[in-house]
């Protein structure tokens, strides 16, 4: 029996990658998806799409002769995923093993942060009212998130220079502007869901979530013109009620979103040597975790 257990564990370690585990899982976990399956499946599709794009960019470094054609091809692949999204979260190492190898800390920090995203949505979707109980529960989840110092992305606001102030910055949006707008539309969708779920009545919440889904499809209906973002959408602007109620969480989400753009820039920029990708990935992930790196003056006190 012991041999069998060792064998199973051994095989598992060869075939899978151990991401962070949130233990114990919140009682509300994944209830958002039961109530709002279309929105939940889109969130799963975003994770899938992000991993797929990162892997494609990594494999295509230095080999893209026609950026517009590459963008068109990859956009059509991702749009197909969005139109037929997965029912469960897809493990990134299965879609993007090289990306997972090159960005070990980033991937784990994203996973941890995505769990926070998910569980906050789950609490907001299931809490009976919008009052003290819901607020306490979200703050409890957030405290659990922050307690993991090895993986938590900081909740201290960063300046725009965190995203745009590196030698490789803006490479992704300059090369693939439509794809960049698709990713900003993902960010917009994620943060607008929080606002939708803070409507006072269940009927309004249901309506607002559906409208957010519809608005997302409108945003990506005719890229690049349909998504009118000049800058990455930020949580305090797009979800002001949520930001007022939970002032520490928006910076954590925005820092996560900025780190996604940084990864895209590292993968696309010819200024980053192939041999430096892993190093830059770890360096920028640590910056995302460090409350003092690119610290902004415009932020509520932690």
């Amino acid at each position: 029996m012991r041999v069998l257990i060792y064998l199973i564990v051994g095989l598992a370690s060869l075939t899978s990658w151990a991401g962070p585990v949130w233990y114990p899982m919140p009682a509300e976990a994944y209830q958002f998806g039961r109530k709002y399956p279309d929105a939940q499946r889109l969130l799963y599709a975003f994770d899938y799409g992000h991993a797929l794009v990162y892997e494609r960019l990594l494999h295509s470094r230095g080999k893209i002769n026609d950026a517009a054609e590459f963008e068109k091809k990859i956009l059509s692949e991702v749009l197909a995923i969005l139109k037929n999204p997965p029912n469960v979260k897809v493990e990134e190492d299965e879609i993007a093993p090289d990306y997972v190898y090159k960005f070990p800390l980033t991937v784990n920090a994203f996973d941890w942060s995505h769990m926070l995203h998910q569980f906050v949505l789950d609490v907001l979707a299931t809490a009976p009212d919008r009052g003290k109980v819901m607020k306490a529960r979200v703050n409890e989840i957030f405290s659990q998130y922050k307690a993991n110092h090895l993986l938590a992305i900081t909740d201290v606001c960063k300046t725009m220079l965190f995203m745009d102030g590196h030698y490789f910055s803006k490479a992704f949006r300059r090369t693939f502007p439509s794809f960049n707008l698709l990713i900003w539309s993902y960010h917009w969708f994620q943060i607008r869901l929080y606002e939708a779920l803070l409507k006072p009545t269940e009927m309004e919440r249901n309506f607002a979530v559906k409208k957010t889904v519809d608005d997302f499809w409108a945003l990506i209906s005719n890229l690049p013109d349909s998504a009118e973002f000049d800058m990455m959408p930020d949580t305090a602007t797009e979800a002001p009620t949520f930001a007022k109620l939970f002032p520490r969480i928006p910076p954590a989400f925005d820092n996560n979103h900025m780190l996604h753009d940084i990864v895209s820039d590292i993968l696309v920029s010819s200024r980053v040597a192939d041999s430096d990708i892993r190093k830059e990935g770890v360096r920028t992930a640590r910056m995302a975790q460090d409350p003092d790196a690119f610290r902004s003056n415009i932020c509520p006190e932690p």
Binding site: M160, L161, G165, M203, D230, T237
Partner: protein
């Protein structure tokens, strides 16, 4: 559907797009820079509006549905005229129209080795936005900004960018000196 339900639905509909906030002139200026980048990235304007950018003007016009007029100028040619692009923005700094004016000239601009001059000017804007609330000397450049000009100069043996901001409330100038990679070296209100 009851009257209450209809009322709540109406509230939701009107609230859906009510999150845009009015912005200050410096914020509108920064958003104008981002719009220039977007237009260039999408191939709607040529590279010159980014790489030969030299100055911008921002005005509160509050007319015809537009709140701000943002004009970006390329380096002027020998006859003093410069290609320019004008953006009209709403009170949230969202561009609602643009107009290019191509002059019969082509200005000579310095070659920027790292970041383009629009991005460097943005870094200057970030300094204003980050510090207006804590530094009273910076505040007029946030609320009453009128123009910004960028120049490439040699200082202490290195090539640097100097972005000078002016405002309509005083004759003072805010000068932000940056490395060509966008790192702020120093700032001075004079």
């Amino acid at each position: 559907m009851t009257f209450l339900n209809l009322f709540l639905l109406a509230c939701t509909l009107t609230g859906a797009f009510a999150n845009a906030q009015d912005v200050a002139l410096a914020r509108a200026g920064e958003l104008g820079c981002h719009r220039i980048e977007r237009l260039r990235d999408l191939g709607r304007i040529d590279e010159g509006y980014l790489n030969k950018f030299q100055a911008l003007r921002i005005e509160d016009i509050s007319t015809g549905g537009a709140k701000f007029r943002f004009t970006a100028f390329q380096a002027p040619g020998l006859n003093g005229s410069a290609h320019q692009i004008e953006l009209l923005m709403d009170s949230a700094g969202k561009t609602i129209g643009n107009h290019k004016e191509t002059k019969n000239t082509d200005g000579v601009s310095p070659v920027w080795p790292d970041k383009d001059p629009v991005t460097l000017t943005e870094s200057g804007f970030h300094y204003i936005i980050e510090n207006e609330a804590i530094n009273p000397d910076v505040r007029p450049f946030f609320i009453a900004l009128s123009e910004a000009v960028i120049a490439q100069v040699q200082e202490n043996g290195q090539t640097v960018a100097k972005v000078q901001f002016k405002n309509t409330q005083s004759a003072k100038v805010l000068e932000v000196t940056l490395k060509t990679d966008g790192t702020v070296i120093s700032t001075q209100v004079k």
